[in-house]
Symmetry: C2
Subunit: 228 residues, 2 copies
DNA sequence: AAAAAAGTGTAATAATTATGACAATTGAAG
DNA sequence: CTTCAATTGTCATAATTATTACACTTTTTT
């Protein structure tokens, strides 16, 4: 009894995640009755999802933070992404033909997840149009962002990648601040950090941009656009 | 009248595309009654979808072949993909938050497309569970394949990319045949063709693989796995 | 069958990037 | 305020890749 209330209370958090927050207030009580779920607790370092394992449930992280990693066949790890609550996990391949997880998800701190079986997800999608749309939209956005990343990485030179990246990040402003460290940007580009900084400083020397640590000023937008 | 029959006949082709072929025979008549569509004809060189344009309908290509291209801001084009009938077009961002097409789709020969408005697609998904599942599965598979590509491109050296690629393509067999030209593989890797061939021949000289044009023989699988 | 087009392997040189190391700066934790 | 970890900018050297060009083979078109 107590337990049930506790779970239901916790599970209510799912309405804060982008997959469920579109369910209208008026339908949430019904939704909570229709959803079949279990709540799982994890400690720091626990593995929520194992690379290569079949994945038949939707996981919604409602507390904590995880990293997803990809092991190459040597056994080294490659960090793929950070996900923090409240957010769904790996929605992208729940319905894929090969629904084995391409990554492992590992807790960076104590975490709580709501686990909903795939069949119940179908059911919810058919009953709650808003949920279906949110789900579709979520996956679609993932396709977009992956396409974007792929385009970025496909540009041949660091100059091209950097120009492309800066134009995106600037969002039309001439002056802005980088959201991540240069180390992370280098990783995003799949290049080495010194090489990235070198190119960045060259572009600064040419007067195309100004750089002061994370602060960027675009001085010649047209020149940036010509670089890729 | 004649026209309507003609269209309906043509539109029946949609059941050959991976999005609709899962609709059971018994439901197809109903499905065809429920689907709101128009049929469009295109000539070689026609643009079906323009980069940057809003995209509020599902396009199913039922005849012909198209290429999707991405224009960089210089005006040069980057070929993204080939799609041949029968297949849906750009399902990935129909439901994305920003549903502007990131690419242009251009006909390589006379083409026919069935165009279904987004709202009707919702409707069909809610009414026909098999259609919903197929749609989800289609987008999910796209996420998988993009993730795969991204992983490939993210590997630093050509050696690493090639090893990774060959292991995938081999599908466990020691001898197999490349599905595409080296030029295309080089493009997939975002590297130059001569550089790709050079690395490939080096690996052959080391006795890891044998290469005869498109025929590949993997002689030392373990060595390949160590290269990335 | 001839011609054209596409694909393949090669090489020299130039350009780009990785590596590994170092000092300087900043921000956070104590 | 001090200390420590993270971030940043820099450099020389080595390794990798792009570029451009050419000869050759295979496939496709005419």
């Amino acid at each position: 009894m107590e337990r049930k209330h506790f779970d239901t209370h916790h599970a209510g958090m799912i309405f804060q995640c982008p997959l469920c927050n579109s369910v209208p207030e008026g339908q949430r009580e019904d939704f909570m009755r229709d959803v079949r779920f279990s709540v799982k607790e994890y400690q720091k370092g626990d593995v929520i999802v194992t690379q290569g394992a079949l994945y038949e449930s939707l996981y919604i992280l409602i507390r904590g933070e995880i990293v997803t990693e990809m092991a190459d066949e040597k056994g080294d790890f490659m960090k793929v992404a950070h996900i923090s609550a409240p957010n769904p996990l790996a929605t992208g391949f729940l319905f894929a033909t090969n629904n084995r997880s391409p990554v492992s998800a590992i807790c960076e701190m104590p975490c709580t997840a709501v686990v909903i079986p795939k069949e119940n997800v179908y059911f919810l999608m058919r009953k709650y149009e808003s949920f279906m749309l949110a789900f579709l939209s979520y996956i679609s956005n993932r396709v977009s962002s992956l396409s974007e990343k792929l385009r970025l990485v496909s540009l041949r030179t660091i100059r091209a990648k950097l120009s492309y990246y800066l134009l995106r990040e600037s969002a039309g402003e001439s002056s802005f601040r980088l959201k991540t460290s240069k180390e992370e940007i280098a990783r995003l580009f799949s290049v080495s950090r010194p090489a990235l900084v070198k190119v960045m400083m060259e572009m600064a020397a040419e007067g195309v941009i100004e750089v002061d640590r994370r602060d960027i000023l675009i001085k010649d937008r047209a020149a940036l656009q010509k670089m890729f």
